[in-house]
């Protein structure tokens, strides 16, 4: 590692979150490890049920209880273990150190308070302040997320705003206290294309101003291509491939990543026939014993079914260049490394 440890803001190691359901035990997050570096944007891509959102919720310990429990691993924020904090300490960390933006701004905002009051609530946690001062800070926060006419908008209720504007308000609340880490879980999925472009540009400019590290949870490789520095691809609870974005797109090394990238039609080129991944993702309470992609994999070998493959460095990772560290959990790479 050429990166000094001080560069790592959030270190996640072997994180395991289990769900206890009627149908059985679901290993929603099953040994996930990654580092988030200062000022970078890390994408976590996967389909529904891959465990990407459960990973995000585990990082702030907001998993649904009692159905879900973090059963193992470690999450260190600036070296401090989060999984051992008390609930009161966690409340201080959320918003102050790690903030979240969720998919649906409608459900993130309280319909009976004005957006100004809701933004002010975050500041109130830092101690009581006069009402006029709160309003000023709320207006400044709205201006920061480029809401037009913030002096009037601050007195709006959420239903008086469009989806794109509400998501800006959620963004304003999230970055109001300059968190070290911002977790964005599909923040633009419910927005229109041109509004999505505005929002992504806004997130980037906030990151440039504040130096916040961003974890982008998404199912969309387009968002990854546009926003992320590095990416981790999840399938059935595990990271199957990670690496710098350019390297992942140039030489995707796990057959799942390859197929996923190839199955998305591009608006820029005409394609006669799209590749598609046959079959369905495995049911989460009945995972295959070996590689979880094996039943759908066109290159499957006997040993893939025997046990879960470890991470192998890809060829493009070069000679130990940590900047370009790119690895995939696939036996096809075994001979190469």
């Amino acid at each position: 590692m050429t990166h000094s440890d001080s560069d790592v803001v959030l270190a996640v190691e072997n994180l395991q979150t289990h769900l206890y359901t009627k149908r059985g035990l679901v290993r929603a997050v099953d040994g996930v490890s990654f580092d988030l570096r200062s000022g970078e944007t890390l994408g976590i891509v996967g389909e529904s049920g891959s465990g990407k959102s459960m990973t995000a919720l585990s990082l702030v310990r907001l998993i649904p209880r009692p159905a879900a429990r973090i059963v193992g691993g470690s999450v260190r924020l600036d070296g401090e273990e989060i999984l051992e904090k008390s609930e009161a300490e966690m409340r201080a960390i959320r918003g102050e150190q790690i903030a979240m933006i969720l998919q649906d701004p409608q459900s993130s905002l309280n319909p009976v308070f004005t957006v100004g009051d809701q933004i002010a609530e975050t500041f109130q946690l830092q101690g009581k302040q006069p009402r006029g001062r709160m309003r000023e800070r709320a207006i400044a926060a709205l201006r920061e997320v480029q809401v037009a006419d913030p002096e009037n908008r601050v007195s709006n209720f959420p239903h008086e705003m469009s989806g794109g504007m509400k998501q800006r308000v959620v963004g304003a609340i999230a970055v109001a206290r300059r968190p070290r880490v911002l977790i964005a879980d599909e923040p633009t999925t419910s927005l229109d294309v041109t509004i999505q472009a505005q929002y992504l540009r806004l997130l980037r400019s906030i990151q440039q101003q504040t130096g916040t590290s961003i974890i982008f949870i998404t199912h969309d490789f387009g968002i990854v291509a546009k926003m992320c520095d590095r990416v981790a691809v999840m399938y059935a609870g595990r990271i199957v491939e990670y690496g710098p974005v350019h390297s992942i797109f140039a030489t995707p090394s796990h057959p799942y990543t390859q197929a996923l990238i190839a199955s998305v039609p591009s608006p820029d080129t005409k394609v006669e026939r799209l590749e598609s991944i046959e079959g369905q993702p495995p049911v989460p309470w009945d995972l295959p014993k070996g590689c979880r992609f094996a039943p759908r994999c066109p290159f499957v070998m006997d040993r893939c079914r025997a046990d879960y493959p470890p991470m192998f460095a890809t060829q493009s990772a070069g000679d130990g260049d940590a900047e370009a560290e790119h690895a995939a959990a696939c036996r096809l790479l075994e001979g190469e490394s």
Partner: protein, 334 residues
């Protein structure tokens, strides 16, 4: 080009009354669809793309006879579908079917797959029970499921399989037109291409005509022969899909396409980010509906005069855009 279009919309409009405004008591009208013209040839796909509120879904509902037009007409094989004799309406339902976005909402959870798929047939036909079952087995096989699935309930299937069931149900009455309203956007990424390929295969096999409503530009490029871009109830650009994508002429189309997410990390950004949001359809701008956000507005003409669709200079002549800039280009060329 030579063949008669199977479906044609002429000056099609749908306005909704939304009550009276408080201060003036004036009637408020949303012009959801406002004078739309297009034609779809047999066995081809026309895509309607645009952002929410642009009128693409209302247009689709007009084609399904789920809405009555305020003005204009839709012709299927030359007959006005909103002016059908009572006796021919059932036949219309057989010929025009739909597949919707959400296969969780579109399938009755208390019906078995056999009955779900057979429903259009039972409603319209007098086949024996066993003949119906045979036909269900046939269409299920055609969409990549097996006859064994007939006895299951929808909740036993994944999203992709449910959408296959919805497609089977739409196909069972041998329709000539399928209205596809965001058919893959609720599905997982790895399942989307399966369903898109299935829809393409079906079109090739049965030469069904598709109207695709989509917001995803990659899906549109892959699926559609022709593409119409809508903004505030109007078509602002229409043409062969490849022509429109490779040389978008309307400033809105250009901005929309540039805002689409890239397929791979781009070295340079060619993004045109529009300011503001789509104006309220309750109070649309005068003149060109796009002039409030247009980066290349050419002055008062755009604010006062609504541009008509006119040919985009270039070969072909089937590429149209509703923008005053086309006039200027025409002038320069001539």
């Amino acid at each position: 080009m030579n063949a008669q279009p199977l479906i044609e919309a002429r000056r099609l409009s749908k306005h909704f009354d939304v009550g009276r405004g408080a201060p003036t008591g004036k009637k408020k009208v949303v012009k959801a669809v406002d004078g739309v013209d297009f034609a779809i040839r047999r066995g081809t796909t026309l895509a309607l793309v645009g952002e929410s509120g642009c009128g693409k879904t209302t247009t689709a509902r007009l084609l399904l006879r789920l809405e009555t037009p305020t003005a204009g007409s839709v012709y299927l094989d030359g007959a006005d579908i909103h002016d059908l004799p009572r006796g021919e309406r059932a036949e219309f339902r057989r010929r025009v079917q739909a597949v919707f976005q959400d296969p969780w909402a579109s399938l009755n959870p208390r019906m078995r797959v056999r009955d779900l798929v057979a429903e259009p047939l039972v409603a319209n036909n007098r086949l024996s029970r066993s003949a119906v079952t045979d036909r269900v087995a046939e269409v299920l096989t055609g969409v990549g499921l097996t006859p064994d699935h007939m006895r299951n309930f929808p909740h036993e299937f994944s999203g992709g399989q449910r959408q296959r069931i919805a497609i089977a149900s739409a196909l069972i009455s041998q329709p000539r037109v399928l209205i596809l309203d965001e058919p893959v956007s609720a599905l997982d990424v790895s399942i989307r291409s399966q369903i898109m390929n299935l829809l393409k295969d079906i079109q090739q096999r049965l030469s069904v005509t598709y109207l695709l409503v989509a917001h995803d530009l990659g899906t549109t490029r892959y699926m559609a022969d022709r593409t119409a871009v809508m903004y505030l109830g109007r078509i602002v650009e229409i043409g062969d899909t490849d022509t429109v994508f490779e040389g978008p002429a309307h400033p809105y189309t250009q901005a929309l396409f540039s805002a689409a997410l890239p397929a791979r990390p781009a070295t340079e950004s060619r993004e045109i980010v529009l300011d503001g949001e789509v104006p309220s359809p309750l109070n649309p701008p005068s003149g060109c509906p796009f002039h409030t956000r247009c980066p290349v507005k050419i002055g008062r003409r755009c604010e006062e005069e609504t541009p008509k669709l006119q040919p985009v200079p270039g070969p072909g002549g089937t590429h149209l855009a509703a923008c005053h800039l086309m006039d200027d280009m025409e002038g320069q060329r001539g």
